[in-house]
Every structure is written in C-alpha cells, then in structure tokens.
Amino acid sequence: MAILKTKNLTKKYGDFKALDGVDLEVNEGEIYGFIGPNGAGKSTTIRVLLGILKATEGEAHIFGKDAWEEAVEIHKRIAYVPGDVNLWPNLTGGEVIDLFMKLRGAKQQTLREELIRKFDLDPSKKCRTYSKGNRQKVALIAAFASDADLYILDEPTSGLDPLMERVFQDCVLEAKKNGKSVLLSSHILSEVEKLCDQIGIIRQGKIIETGSLKELRHLTRTTLYMETRVPMKGLSEVKGVNDVVGKAGGVSFQVDSEHMDEVIQYASSFGVVKIESAPPTLEDLFMRHYEGTEASTHLGGGQ
C-alpha cells in the first residue's frame, strides 16, 4: 500500500520549473532512497510534501490525505529531519527535543533518553554551542523518539561522523522493522545502497529513474576482469563492451548488462583462466545519470 504518492507534481517559480511532473511512490514498510545532485529538486519535493510549499500543479498525498490541505493531520504521523538544522541559539538541545516531541504528540521519555545516550549528545548545552553534527543529532533524536509512521529525512547525516552514521542507520532499520516507512534523501550513496529498498533519481526537477537497486543495476554495466590462455583479440569490437584496459596477463572491461551472454561466449573461445566481476555501484549509476546529455548518448551508442 502506498503511504506517500505524488502525481505529476510541478512547482514553478516564474518560468523556472523547480519540479517538473514528479511521480513518487513510497510503500508501507519501505525505505525509499531519493538521490540527485544539488539543486535537482529533492528539498523542494520534500517541502511540498510537508505542505510548506504549495505545488503549482499535480497532487501529493500522504496517508491518502492531501499534503497541503491536511498538513496538520499528516504531520501528527510524520517525523522530518532537514539537512541544514537551524535551532534557537538560546535554548538547550534538551529543550528543543522536548518541544519537537510535544508538538507532534505523545512523548516517549525512555526512548528519548536512550537515543540521547546512543547519539552521545549533551542536551544541557545551548544550541548556540553545537556543531552542525550536534544540531543534526538534536533533530534526529526528536524524530526517532517520536512514534511516527513515515520518516522524511533530507540529507540527515551530512555532518555526522561514521560512528554516528552507524547509529543513524540502526535507527532507520529499526523503524523499518517496526513497519514504518522512510523517505531518505541523501548524497551518501553507500548509505542509500545499504538501507534502501527503492531508489528514485531526480535530475532537473524530473524523476529520471526509479526501481530497486537490483532493477537499476540492470540498466547499467558490470565491470569484468579476465585472464585467458590465448590473449583476447578484437574484444573492443564485440557489442556491449566498453573501456577495455589491458593489464598484466589479463584485461579489464565493462559490459552492458543486456550483452553479457554474448561477451562471455566470445571470451570463452580464448580459454578463460580467471574471471572477476564487480556489480555496478550506485555511484556508477549516479555518475551515469548525472553526467550531461553528451555522456548518455555516448553510453547509449555502446561504441
């Protein structure tokens, strides 16, 4: 069941389209990774979802309710963490956490204390003295200490150290285990790779790719390294082969997923001694989608 659904979401600022027909769907119990370069429209989408911006066109529904009209009702079941957390300099972290929890609804005191301990935050300090990472911790603790059904996280870990990022990932997985849904916008691709069930890639206000990581991988290439008894010849002429680099005793190259079979058959005639394969990382996907249009025609041509 879709918890969050947008249809043809469009946001215009004058003639500029910040969002251009965004379709998103996050299902119950799912972690949805939302990736894209700076200025692609991630935060704008999220702010429309939160009812802070009004969409020019299209629909955004969360829990089946309209994101603009019924914002308050929706927000009772949402936890949101912005990427750039600005807090009130003269309140302490503890006070802000309490305020945030109270504004959503019920307070879970024990969970609050546990999270403060896990994230290693001193709640008695004024927000003025916190670093970026500590301000993010305040927002994260307030989010995970509240009993939300949907977590909307906009680059929540950009200031955290690797240890704290681990704590964050545990929290997200814990939420998932409890059947909660998460919309995670992030630049840390290893994090998205580790956590997310579904991934959407946005660029210039348009969703250009969605699917599970596995599905997305099909769209791209696998890196192979092979050693053969007889040196392979004419490999670069084979359909679907790219970036051939000769190495000591072997050759490394990339193969478009749909031509894998032909390539393997071709290679086997040279007597394969050793084969290593690496699946495309999200970073490969990311780079492939983000490089300008030139790059994508180049890839599409497959040499």
Binding site: R47, L50, G51, I52, L53, K54, A71, V72, E73, H75, K76, I78, Y80, P82, D84, N86, L87, W88, N90, L91, T92, G94, E95, V96, I97, D98, L99, F100, K102, L103, R104, G105, P123, S124, K125, K126, R128, T129, A139, I152
Partner: protein, 534 residues
C-alpha cells in the same frame, strides 16, 4: 621571546579598521553630529537668559538629576553649562556602548566563531588580536574626542569655550577607553561573545545606576561610579581635569589585568564556567505560543522596563511646565491652545500620542519575529509537525496584542505616577491611564498591518515601519509644520480622541478596531496560502 607575543599587531589593526570601515565612521558621525545638532538647537530654542533659566527650573527635580546628573552651573545656566548637563553623561553612555559592542565583536565573538583560531594559526603573536583591538579603539576614541572638541569650538557659541570643549571631548575619550578596557577584561573571563557584551553592559548599567542614586542622595556613593566622574569634571563651568586622569589610570590597570589573563589562558576557554542548561523543556515551552514567548522573553521584559522608565521620565517633567511653555514659542507651536485646559494637559495628550507610537515598536517586533524565524528556516521545524499555520501566526499575533496592552499600560501608568509626584495640582491617575490606553485601537491597526504584511509578503515589512515613522512625524510635528489635515489623517493615531482635552469618540475607536480586525483576518488567511521561504 616575549616580543613575539605581539607579532603582526600592526597588520591586524589595519584589518580591524578595514572590517569596520563603515561601522566606526557611522558611530562617530552619529555621536558627533548629534552633539553638534543639540548644541545648535539650544542656541535657537533657548536664545535668552530667561528661557534658559526657565529650562533650568524644570531640571532641578530628583528625576532629572537621576537621569542626566547634577546640574553644575544651574544658577547661571549658560549654553555651555546646558550642554555639559544635558548631553555629556548620555553621550558618555553611548560612547561606552559603542566600545562594548565593537570590542566584544573583535575579541570573544571572533574567538567563539573560530576566526581567531585561523589568525592564531598564522605567524601572529598570542596577544596580537587583543592588542590590535585595544589600540584601534584607543585611537578611535582619541579621534572622537578631538573631532567633538573641534566641532564645538568651531560652532563659536557663547560660553562654549576652547578649554571646556577640549575637556568635553577628553571626557568622551576617557570613557570610551575605560569601557574598552572593561570589555577587554570580560572577553578573557566569559566564554561567549554575548556573555562579554552582557557583562560589560551590566557594568555600564550599574555605573549609571550607582551614579543616579549617588547624585540624588549620597555624594560619596557617586564617586564609586566612573560615570559619576564624568559629570564631576564640571565642563564649561569650572573645568576640572583630574577625573579624566583617574579614569585613564583605572583603565590602564584593567588593561593590564586583561592582558595578563589573556596570556595565561587557552584559546576558547574562559574563567567563568559556562552555566549548565536545562536537560528538559518546561511544560510552558512545549507549544508554539510558549516557544514564541520564550524567544522574545528578554526583549519583552527589557522593552517593558524601558516603557515604564519612558513614562516616568516624561511624567517627571510635568511639574513646572506652564511657566516654561509661556517663555518658549517653539514648544507652544507644537500645541494648539484650547480653552479650559492648561498647556500641561494639552502637553499630556501630545506626549501620550508619542508614547503610544513608541509603544507600537515592541508589538511590531513581536509580529516580525515570525518573519525572522522563517528567514532562518526555523518555521519549518514547527510546520513539519502537528502545528497549523493559523496556530503559528496566531501565537505571534496574540503576543503582539497582549504586548501592546502591557507596554502602553506601563508607559501611561509610569507617566501618571511621576506626574502625580511632581505636579502642583495633579490630575488623577485614571485620567492619565485613559488618555494613554485610548490609543490601543491605533496600535492594533499597526499590528494588523504587520500581520497582513507577514501573511502576504514578509519582505515588505519595512512598510509598517515607514508608516509608523510617517505617523510620528505628522502627528507629533503636525502642529508645528501646519500640515494639511488629510496628511495627518492618513495615520491611525490621528483619529484617536485626545483625552482629556477632547471628548471620547466611540465611532472613531470602533472603526479603527474594525480596520485592525480586517487586516489581521486578511493576514491570517494569506499566511495559510503562501509558500514558506526556506
């Protein structure tokens, strides 16, 4: 080795001057310009001895002594004596504030923000930033003193002589250097820039208060305050120089302490432990209203105290007014005489209009606080939770409305209290209060306009301030400049009946209230519909 402590002080000094190339000149021009303007206006307002003596009589009550200090030469109230009495102490306070703000900025605030860390990582000495700041400020205050003195001398006013003017400037220089040293000391002690400015301001405030109490009741006590030394130079009367050298000597001692503490402490540490804050929010804080109020708490309390003091000080001059007015054409020009009422009563209505406009400032700030919160991306913390936009803007509106009532009540009450104490045949307190509180609907119109602007387009909020300024000029000075009636009538404050001189006009008050309500409703509606910035 020890000379290395001051490495690159020169470059850092020019760097400070470069950073403050607008700030410092603006301070200097404002202080000097205002001083010269007042000196000039004295010559035109009180041109005869008789007028000056009438003025002097209004100054010899405890409230005025507490405010501006003992009037030396009050029996022969020359222009010089007037300048020194009415301007010198307050100018010294402003100079002190300038020192505190600039020094705190370049010492602890920059340290707190990590800028000094960057400077320190370069080949600069450990005491260089403190030295550079101190040198620059000493220089600035010397320039200030010289320019003020030169300006006063060149105005060529009778009794404003060369020695007195030099002393006048020197007093400002010494006060500035003194508070530079105080702030430099606190910059070593407190861990935050705000703490430094706060502590130094409290010293300034305490110095002012001790002097006030001392001047009114106990001469010895006043000598414990550096601001007491300021007035005791008796500028333009007997010209006593040695309090200035006393002030400079104390400043040197404080500087030595500051430099010593700076040399023995670690970067970003202080000698006062930072207070441990609350781990949990109080029940009150946990609502949009509670948060909004908490964020403005200090500001509201300060304004409330300020409005009470404003009322008290206006009230304290009501004592001997009628004789004063009769000798002064310009002030009578401000008022249109009405039969059956004394000039004092008419003056009260004018004062109330002014007070109500000043009291409009804090409620407007309360509404525009929401705009500031939006600009700092903190509104989204609330709106992304179960808080409706109505509840959010409603909280700020409610605070503004209560604020308007509290501020105006305090000011009117303060004026009444002081008025009762000094007037020969007093008006009762209720009359004072009514004359003030009747302005509430006009203030609500201003609040309504502010809410409307925040709801529609917060970037236009300066319109509300301009409108308030417009009201101030047309209503306050309308009588003097003989503006056409419609010009004055564009301001909501012009439609308020001037109690007790006018009759109560319920229709006007009612219509203003309706206008205010319409503005507020429109603002609330628009706020629901627009994008929140971020």
């Amino acid at each position: 080795m020890s000379s290395k402590l001051y490495e690159k002080t020169g470059i850092l000094s020019t760097f400070i001057l470069r950073q403050d190339r607008f700030k410092i000149p603006i301070w200097l021009i404002s202080i000097i310009g205002f001083t010269l303007l007042v000196a000039f206006s004295f010559t035109s307002l009180y041109s005869s001895d008789q007028e000056r003596m009438a003025m002097a009589e209004t100054m010899v009550n405890p409230a005025m002594v507490a405010m501006v200090g003992i009037g030396y030469g009050i029996n022969n109230y020359t222009f010089g004596a007037m300048m020194a009495h009415q301007m010198l102490l307050l100018s010294a306070v402003v100079v002190g504030m300038m020192s505190i703000l600039i020094v705190a900025r370049h010492t602890r605030t920059e340290e707190e923000d990590g800028q000094i860390e960057l400077i320190r990582s370069l080949p600069t000495g450990r005491l260089s930033t403190l030295t550079a700041t101190s040198l620059v400020m000493v220089g600035v205050h010397i320039v200030l003193g010289l320019l003020t003195a030169t300006g006063l001398i060149f105005m060529n006013i009778e009794s404003v002589d060369v020695e007195g003017s030099l002393l006048y400037g020197a007093v400002l220089t010494a006060t500035g250097i003194f508070f530079t040293s105080v702030t430099a000391l606190f910059a070593q002690v407190s861990e935050s820039g705000r703490g430094v400015a706060g502590l130094s301001m409290s010293v300034l405030g305490a110095a002012y208060l001790i002097r006030a109490i001392g001047d009114v009741s106990n001469e010895t006590l006043a000598w414990f305050s550096p601001l007491g030394w300021v007035t005791r130079t008796e500028v333009y009367v007997t010209d006593i120089w040695w309090p200035i050298f006393l002030m400079a000597a104390v400043a040197v001692v404080i500087f030595i302490a500051a430099f010593y503490l700076s040399s023995i402490r670690d970067l970003q540490s202080g000698f006062l432990p930072s207070r441990v804050g609350k781990r949990n929010a109080s029940a009150f804080l946990q609502s949009p209203f509670g948060l909004a109020l908490r964020l403005q708490r200090t500001g509201i309390i300060s304004w409330a105290a300020g409005m009470l003091i404003l009322g008290l000080s206006y009230g304290s001059v009501l004592g001997d007014l009628d004789s004063f007015f009769e000798s002064n054409d310009m002030v009578t020009g401000l008022l249109r005489p009405v039969d059956g009422f004394s000039l004092t009563e008419q003056f009260i209505t004018l004062l109330m209009a002014v007070i109500s406009m000043i009291c409009t400032i804090p409620p407007l700030m309360a509404v525009f606080k929401l705009k500031g919160e939006e600009n700092k991306n903190r509104v989204e913390h609330l709106l992304s939770r179960a808080v409706s936009r109505w509840r959010l803007i409603g909280s700020y509106l409610l605070i503004a409305l209560v604020n308007s009532f509290v501020m105006l009540s305090l000011a009117a009450f303060g004026m009444g209290m002081a008025g009762l104490a000094v007037m020969e045949d007093p008006i009762d307190l209720a009359t004072f209060y009514q004359a003030g509180i009747v302005y509430l609907p006009a203030m609500w119109v201003m609040i309504g306009l502010a809410v409307f602007l925040v709801g529609v387009k917060p970037s236009l909020s300066s319109i509300a301030w301009l409108y308030l300024g417009y009201s101030f000029i047309t209503v306050y000075l309308g009588g003097l400049f003989q503006f056409p009636e419609w010009v004055t009538n564009l301001s909501p404050f012009a439609h308020i009946p001037q109690l007790p001189v006018d009759e109560m006009q319920y229709t006007n008050v009612f219509i203003l209230t309706i206008v205010a309500a319409l503005f507020m409703a429109a603002g609330l509606l628009f706020y629901r519909k627009r994008d929140i910035k971020g």
